[in-house]
């Protein structure tokens, strides 16, 4: 109750908006800036894949089995297309395959993280605000869920439901909501004791408005941080599940499935079918993680200088 003097201070001058301050603090680390640019590039590649890829890897008319398993830097005998990263066993250009694979990997990863974020944060806020039995109930469920490793829970769900993009996303949502719930609840418990919440309560605002209009925006920083990290985690998990043959179907290959397809050829020295999709996956995961790390450092009030 005594540390409120800073919050009550007048708004800083116009140039120093919280957003600008965030940008300037974030840019202090060159690695983080590069990572952010890489993430933007990867998202752009994924979105623009149909227009910028040299070949539509899933249009069978464009494929030629004679081009199968060509090493990187070779040229198609039929169409004269240059294969920067080689071809797979069907004669698909790996570069195009990776661009399309990124679409699915990112789509599944970001999509499931968004849904898990909405469900998890809402439940976390409700738990913090309602307290009592609701709180205990939700948090017990969270504890129970987090005591089992993510891969096991996902495996279990996919064993029941079978493979498919929707089923993978459902599995990822079920795996991840608990982390959002825990983060949102701990942030909300801190916010609930703040003076602005007391003020809002005194205005006799409805409960939903208190929670979602007043409390939620102030709980966002930790949720955003955990969101970036969980996007990277769900991309990894999806790739792992697809590699095991439990994830996305062959008609919609993500990076993990591309790697799995090349696995059998690796022992005979045809490394590129697995290797380059692996590099793409790696760069994606590392870049997102580094962005998340820097955001955590900037947004964490305990580390404030």
């Amino acid at each position: 109750m005594s540390a409120t003097s800073q919050e009550a201070a007048p708004m800083p001058p116009k140039q120093e908006t919280p957003f600008r301050r965030f940008i300037s603090e974030y840019s202090e680390s060159p690695v983080a800036v590069v990572s952010f640019i890489v993430v933007v590039l990867i998202v752009a590649i994924a979105l623009l894949a149909p227009w910028i890829s040299p070949q539509d890897p899933y249009d069978l008319a464009q494929l030629d089995i004679m081009d199968g398993r060509q090493p990187p830097g070779s040229r198609s005998m039929e169409t004269g297309l240059f294969f920067w990263l080689g071809t797979d066993d069907q004669g698909r250009d790996m570069l195009s395959g990776i661009m399309y694979g990124l679409r699915i990997s990112l789509g599944v990863g970001v999509g499931s993280a968004v849904i898990a974020c909405i469900i998890g944060s809402a439940l976390g806020l409700i738990a913090a605000f309602a307290g009592g039995k609701v709180d205990t109930g939700i948090m017990r469920l969270v504890d129970l869920q987090l005591s089992f490793p993510a891969i096991l829970v996902a495996l279990m769900i996919l064993a029941f439901l079978g493979k498919g993009v929707m089923n993978v996303m459902l599995a990822l949502v079920i795996v991840e909501w608990a982390r959002f719930a825990r983060t949102a609840r701990s942030a909300a418990l801190v916010e609930a004791r703040r003076e602005y919440m007391e003020a809002a309560k005194c205005l006799a605002l409805p409960q939903w408005r208190l929670v979602f209009r007043h409390m939620l925006p102030n709980c966002m920083p930790p949720i955003i941080v955990i969101f970036t990290i969980l996007v990277a985690r769900s991309i990894t998990l999806e790739a792992t599940l697809s590699f095991l043959g439990l994830g996305v179907p062959i008609t919609e290959p993500s990076l993990g499935l591309l790697i799995a397809n090349g696995y059998q050829y690796m022992l005979s020295g045809k490394y590129w079918i697995s290797f380059y999709p692996g590099i793409a996956l790696l760069v994606t995961i590392m870049a997102i993680n580094l962005v998340g790390d820097q955001m955590r450092d900037v947004l964490n009030p305990r580390l404030k200088r």
């Binding site: 089992f148 064993a159 029941f160 790739a239 590699f243 043959g245 696995y263 692996g278 993680n289």
Partner: protein
């Protein structure tokens, strides 16, 4: 202490019960139980007979009761593929997985603690920074990809180590183990390292954080003032205090390693439980899937229980708290 243990046991049993309900609902309500429990080759008459024999015409709660009492007697159905009791199949594959997981734990401690000590004692040295940077890779690289790279480098390019299978095994206490033969150990090297990678990073970070936290404390200053050699201060006094969180986390991670062995075993064709479950899911051998899930849940509940108990033994503060 006894009431605490009793409460902890009841809690564990309750979690176990909840998981049987989830697995039961997963198999019998979400999936089609006729498809799941009866071989797809069966004709109409056989099918009807099997439905009656399995009690699928009975109400749901009665079916659950049958499932539960069967599970308690160790009967979780027969595998379609191997035509053997599912539980027996899993028991046969378990030593391979356990041996892999335990080797991975040993590796993570043997590699992780020295590296963590070094990074903690010399946080600003180049070596310390490289170790910390590398540990981020250990966390975020996908296990299966690292496994592929290990195969590519050590098995395909250099040809040092074998990449698939378990190698020759030798019997001990009626179970076949790989670690008793030299060639078996060579087969185990890559998969164990692959499985251990995430845990090496974890142990390393915990050790480093522990060293950084403990070094400025009074007891370290006091030990130094007494003239105890710097090595003894680090390896006896500080290490003892760091070990408590490490033991807890490593203990908890054993379960995670057994779960993650699913990935490593698939990459290295290691014939353990994890490979069995993936193969079973791919051919829809559902009794094996159910049996695996029940076994692994039991394993988890037991591990959590043991770690809790160990923690009470190791950390007197926890013990004193529960006494009051």
């Amino acid at each position: 202490m006894t009431t605490w243990m009793l409460r902890r046991l009841i809690q564990a049993a309750f979690v176990m019960l909840v998981m049987t309900v989830i697995v039961f609902i997963g198999v019998n309500v979400i999936g089609d139980p006729v498809e799941i429990l009866i071989s797809p080759e069966a004709d109409q008459a056989e099918r009807a007979r099997a439905v009656a024999a399995l009690g699928l015409d009975k109400p749901l709660w009665e079916q659950y009761w049958r499932f539960l009492s069967g599970a308690l007697q160790g009967d979780l159905g027969r595998s379609f593929v191997f035509n053997e009791p599912a539980l027996k199949l899993i028991a046969q594959r378990m030593p391979a997985t356990l041996e892999l997981a335990i080797t991975a734990v040993l590796l993570s401690v043997i590699i992780g603690i020295p590296l963590g000590l070094y990074a903690g004692l010399k946080p600003n040295s180049i070596g310390g920074r490289i170790i910390m940077g590398g540990s981020i890779l250990g966390f975020s690289l996908p296990t299966f990809w690292v496994g592929l790279m290990l195969i590519m480098v050590f098995a395909v390019q250099l040809g040092w180590l074998p990449s698939t299978g378990r190698g020759p095994t030798r019997e001990l206490f009626g179970v076949h183990w790989s670690f008793l033969t030299w060639d078996g150990l060579r087969h185990m090297a890559l998969p164990a390292l692959n499985l251990a990678l995430g845990n090496i990073a974890l142990v390393l970070r915990l050790t480093r954080a522990g060293v950084r936290e403990n070094l400025p404390m009074d007891y370290v200053k006091f030990a130094r003032a007494k003239g105890i050699s710097p090595n003894r201060v680090v390896f006896v006094h500080v290490l003892k205090n760091i070990l408590i969180p490490i033991v807890t986390v490593v203990g908890l991670e054993i379960g995670g390693l057994i779960a993650f062995a699913v990935v490593t075993e698939s990459v290295f064709a290691w014939p353990g439980m994890g490979k069995l479950i993936i193969d079973s899911i791919n051919v829809l051998d559902r009794p094996v899937i159910v049996a695996y899930l029940m076994m692994i849940v039991l394993l988890f509940v037991v591990i959590n229980l043991i770690v809790d108990l160990l923690y009470t033994v190791l950390d007197p503060r926890v013990r004193l708290e529960t006494k009051e």
